[in-house]
């Protein structure tokens, strides 16, 4: 009796068990809305809503107090495109980007090669090259403002110069660039260092067997293997450099610099919004700037996709 009953029940049980298992397995991955809800609510409030609000405000003459905004159509955009200060400050940000990006890429690569190939004290090189990145931007800026100070600063003293770094139009932005290089190269340096460590040793060993010298190994193995990371470093640096603000304002004591030569687009936008109280106009400039940033990001994605297709 018992045996026959068991043989009848067992397959049925096994069947239901298997069924519950499938159901459970599937259900586990269903209805994930609650996982993303906390992030999405913060994201909606502090990223998406300000973006939409910025678009709305850019069509109004809103001021900082937020009362009685009138719809003005495209007036703000028309004014922005004619405003020489928009073009000047955009130019300053672009000039800064053009100087910083190539320098930082080359310098980061050079530092990473050094730290990777010196066999002793690796942690010390890493610490020295990366430490400045751990400082707040304002501290780095104050420090370089002090170093570039014409009378009492160390730069002129050490190099025996008499250059008015922070008060002359032709040097001011250069001083901001030097500060930025010192302060931020550590991040790109670490990216390069990690990428160098990821290149398999056997490539170099094979090349050595074939009689390739150090220079050939760098040109034919290291550089091609670092192509992706170089693209990433350049893209991240372009996006970050276009948004430069902190160093420039702090080094110039929150002023636009000599003959307004270090006033960036971010600074101009914030001045229009918070000093001139023209929130509508500032929003229009912000949206124009957002479109520029977004085009850079989209261009990078397009380039990446094109390269992937090329590989295939």
């Amino acid at each position: 009796m018992t045996t026959s009953a068991q043989t009848v029940i067992a397959p049925a049980r096994a069947k239901t068990a298997a069924h519950t298992a499938t159901v459970r397995r599937k259900q586990g991955f269903q209805h994930g809305g609650w996982f993303v809800a906390p992030f999405l609510s913060l994201f909606a409030l502090f990223v998406i809503w300000p973006l939409l609000r910025g678009v709305y405000l850019s069509f109004t003459d809103a001021n900082i107090s937020g009362d009685s905004a009138n719809f003005v159509g495209l007036d703000n955009y028309r004014e922005a495109l004619k405003d020489p200060l928009v073009w000047d400050t955009l130019g300053h940000s672009a000039y800064f980007t053009l100087m910083v990006v190539p320098c930082i890429t080359v310098l980061a690569f050079f530092l990473a090669m050094l730290a990777h190939h010196i066999e002793r004290g690796k942690w010390l090189w890493r610490l020295c090259f990366f430490a400045p990145f751990l400082l707040p931007s304002t501290v780095a800026a104050n420090l370089w403002q002090w170093l570039f100070n014409p009378g009492t600063g160390m730069i002129n003293h050490v190099f025996g110069l008499d250059t008015p770094w922070l008060t002359d139009k032709s040097y001011a932005m250069l001083a901001v660039v030097v500060c930025t290089l010192w302060w931020t190269v550590g991040f790109s340096f670490l990216l390069y260092l990690a990428a160098l460590q990821g290149i398999p040793d056997h490539l170099y060993e094979a090349a050595k067997l074939d009689g390739a010298n150090a220079w050939h190994r760098m040109v034919h193995i290291t550089l091609p293997m670092l192509r992706n990371i170089t693209g990433l470093v350049i893209a991240l640096q372009i996006l970050a450099s276009l948004q430069v603000f902190d160093q420039a304002v702090v080094m110039m004591d929150f002023m636009p610099g000599p003959e307004e030569s270090t006033r960036t687009i971010v600074q101009y936008t914030l001045e229009e919004g918070f000093t001139s109280y023209r929130v509508g106009y500032a929003s229009a400039i912000s949206i124009i700037f957002f479109v520029i940033i977004a085009s850079v990001a989209v261009a990078r994605m397009w380039l990446l996709r094109k390269r992937e297709e090329g590989v295939r």
Binding site: Q30, V47, I118, C128, T138, F274
Partner: protein, 287 residues
């Protein structure tokens, strides 16, 4: 250990080839250049205010004094700013870790309506920052009545699309079978998330946490926009605005700057391996 012993040990490990000597010398020279500004800040902070601005300038203080350091503690709000920085960065890091790991997992593993559209929105959010949309973000926070509050400083820093994206990529790489096995054993999915998925993700979470903390500790622009109240300011903000506002006192400014920068540098010395892996990991995930 004497110097000769140290040398003997080193020599026992690896030979000093000519190329290693050249590279090490070059590395030392570059390191000195990189460290010189920090040394200059430290020496300046140990001079008196009058000696700091003496011409011609000199590296080492003639009279070593801690005047500047005691002055910033006695007169300024620097302890206040330090506490604010700690509160803001710790809160931001905790919230970001929680919400972005949940969201990363939700996007990587679960199904819900509108998922791909929402993921696209998050990707678009990568391009929005206070530098790009500062004015509309400020008016939004103003509408919520959060200007000059801790909430106003903390919450807008808690929605970093980049961190969600990094964890999303990571969760996609975990084999599904682990979770499936747990589901079959009857574990609920919250339990699976907290007891199986999260422990597996420790290195990625560490990376996101460290990176968020650095970014938040050093954030200047957002606290600068959202508060003018010296009692609410964070270190970078207080140093840049209050200490710069009435006749700069360089020795004090350098002392304050070091105090803002040193905690992270000391943390870096101890957790170097994790931080390097973390920065590399967070950065590389963007590839």
């Amino acid at each position: 250990m004497t110097a000769t012993q140290v040398q003997a040990n080193v020599r026992a490990r690896r030979p000093w080839t000519p190329s290693q000597i050249v590279l090490t010398l070059l590395g030392t020279a570059v390191s000195v250049v990189f460290m010189a500004p920090l040394a200059w800040a430290l020496f300046t902070s140990l001079k008196s205010e009058t000696e700091a601005v003496e011409v011609p300038t000199h590296w080492l203080p003639k009279d070593w004094t801690t005047q500047a350091w005691t002055a910033i503690f006695d007169t300024g709000n620097i302890t206040n700013w330090f506490v604010n920085s700690v509160v803001v960065s710790v809160c931001v890091t905790a919230v970001v870790l929680l919400v972005s790991s949940l969201a990363g997992y939700g996007f990587a593993r679960t199904e819900f309506r509108g998922k791909s559209a929402l993921m696209g929105l998050v990707m678009a959010g990568l391009m929005v920052s206070p530098a790009v949309l500062g004015v509309p973000l400020f008016t939004t926070v103003q509408q919520m009545g959060m200007v000059d509050t801790y909430w106003g400083m903390i919450l807008p820093q808690c929605a970093p699309a980049a961190m969600v994206y990094i964890l999303y990529k990571f969760f996609q790489g975990i084999p599904r079978e682990l979770e499936e096995a747990a589901f079959i054993d009857g574990a609920g999915r919250w339990r699976v998330f907290f007891t199986i998925v999260l422990p597996l993700s420790r290195p990625s979470l560490a990376a996101v946490g460290i990176f968020t903390f650095i970014a938040s500790w050093n954030n200047f622009l957002w606290p600068y926009m959202v508060t003018n109240n010296p009692d609410l300011m964070t270190m970078p903000n207080g140093i840049a605005t209050v200490m710069n506002s009435y006749g700069i006192q360089w020795a004090q400014l350098m002392a304050g700057g070091l105090m803002a920068g040193l905690p992270l540098i000391i943390v870096f010395v101890f957790f170097q391996r994790q931080i390097v892996a973390g920065v590399a990991h967070t950065g590389l995930a963007g590839q």
